[in-house]
């Protein structure tokens, strides 16, 4: 079997397929009756019932949130009761902060006071004029 499929061939094949399926279709009356049966058995949900269901869900969610919200502060106040006062955030220091400290920290963290140094030199007998002469 050889040959090419053109648009006409495809349309013809689809039409044959469509006709075959249409012959096999179940009767409308049977499908409709089954659907109607199921519709009458199925309890109808009125709009007010949907609203009531939504309101119940909202109320339960709000109740849950409130309960949780009330419980949360109790959990945080347990620490002071146990004798460990919670430090203020501004004064808190890391437990490993000491690892960053070294002997030369003073040089980098403090500023020298120039007037004091000048006074110290003066006390040692070193004068500005004497230095210039030298």
């Amino acid at each position: 079997m050889t040959g090419e499929w053109k648009d006409d061939d495809m349309e013809r094949a689809f039409a044959e397929w469509r006709a075959g399926d249409a012959r096999d279709a179940p009767l409308f009356s049977a499908t409709y009756a089954a659907a109607m049966n199921a519709a009458t058995k199925r309890p109808a949900t009125a709009p007010w019932q949907r609203t009531a269901a939504a309101a119940t869900i909202l109320a339960v969610a709000a109740g849950g949130w409130l309960t949780l919200h009330e419980r949360l502060p109790q959990v945080t106040t347990r620490f002071p009761e146990g004798g460990v006062p919670a430090p203020a955030l501004s004064t808190w220091r890391s437990p490993t902060a000491f690892l960053l400290q070294g002997p030369s920290d003073m040089l980098t963290t403090t500023l020298p006071t120039i007037s004091a140094s000048f006074a110290d030199l003066h006390a040692l007998g070193v004068h500005a004029g004497h230095q210039r002469q030298q």
């Binding site: 249409a22 179940p26 659907a35």
Partner: protein, 174 residues
């Protein structure tokens, strides 16, 4: 829409609706009938309402497609929960007695096999346009995609379908 009018519209579209349900259920007749019945139920009890934005058939096709997808998901969940693993189930694609098919049945079998090889979106658009004789715009509305996207799927799908048909092992002669 009045109940009598609704019934008349459903009856008018029944043949096409069944064919579309068949395509949405991978040609499983029992499942297609269940899906069609479930879709009618949705229409009758008001869970699906026709708002007149498209033709009745286009809207009904969209309802059937969604119902089939829901049904498929439900079955998969049920299968995952209860079904034992079986190795003796036949793999898809093999059709019994294909050799003895008549010429038109053979053409149909080739066409079905070629369509099965297409990506799902392309297959859906092609079936809606070429089998159900919907416009590309209507096909887009049924699937829930943009018209431009549907046009692309249609053009690529048709091109690919033609290639697959020409390279199929069982070619038809005239």
């Amino acid at each position: 829409m009045e109940h009598a009018e609704l019934r008349l519209q459903l009856e008018t579209c029944h043949g096409q609706s069944y064919s579309w349900a068949l395509h949405c259920c991978e040609r499983d007749r029992v499942e297609a009938e269940d899906v069609l019945q479930a879709a009618y139920l949705k229409v009758l009890d008001g869970r699906a309402r026709f708002d007149g934005r498209s033709s009745f058939a286009t809207w009904l096709f969209a309802v059937i497609r969604r119902t089939a997808a829901d049904e498929r998901r439900r079955r998969m969940l049920r299968f995952a929960r209860h079904a034992p693993l079986r190795d003796d189930l036949p793999l898809g694609g093999e059709r019994a007695g294909a050799v003895e098919l008549s010429e038109s049945a053979e053409r149909r079998a080739i066409l079905e096999a070629a369509l099965d090889a297409l990506p799902r979106r392309q297959r859906e658009v092609l079936l809606l346009v070429m089998y159900h004789e919907r416009t590309v715009e209507e096909a887009a509305a049924v699937i829930g995609i943009g018209v431009g996207s549907a046009r692309t799927h249609y053009a690529r799908g048709k091109q690919r379908l033609r290639e697959l048909l020409q390279h199929s092992e069982l070619r038809h002669d005239r």
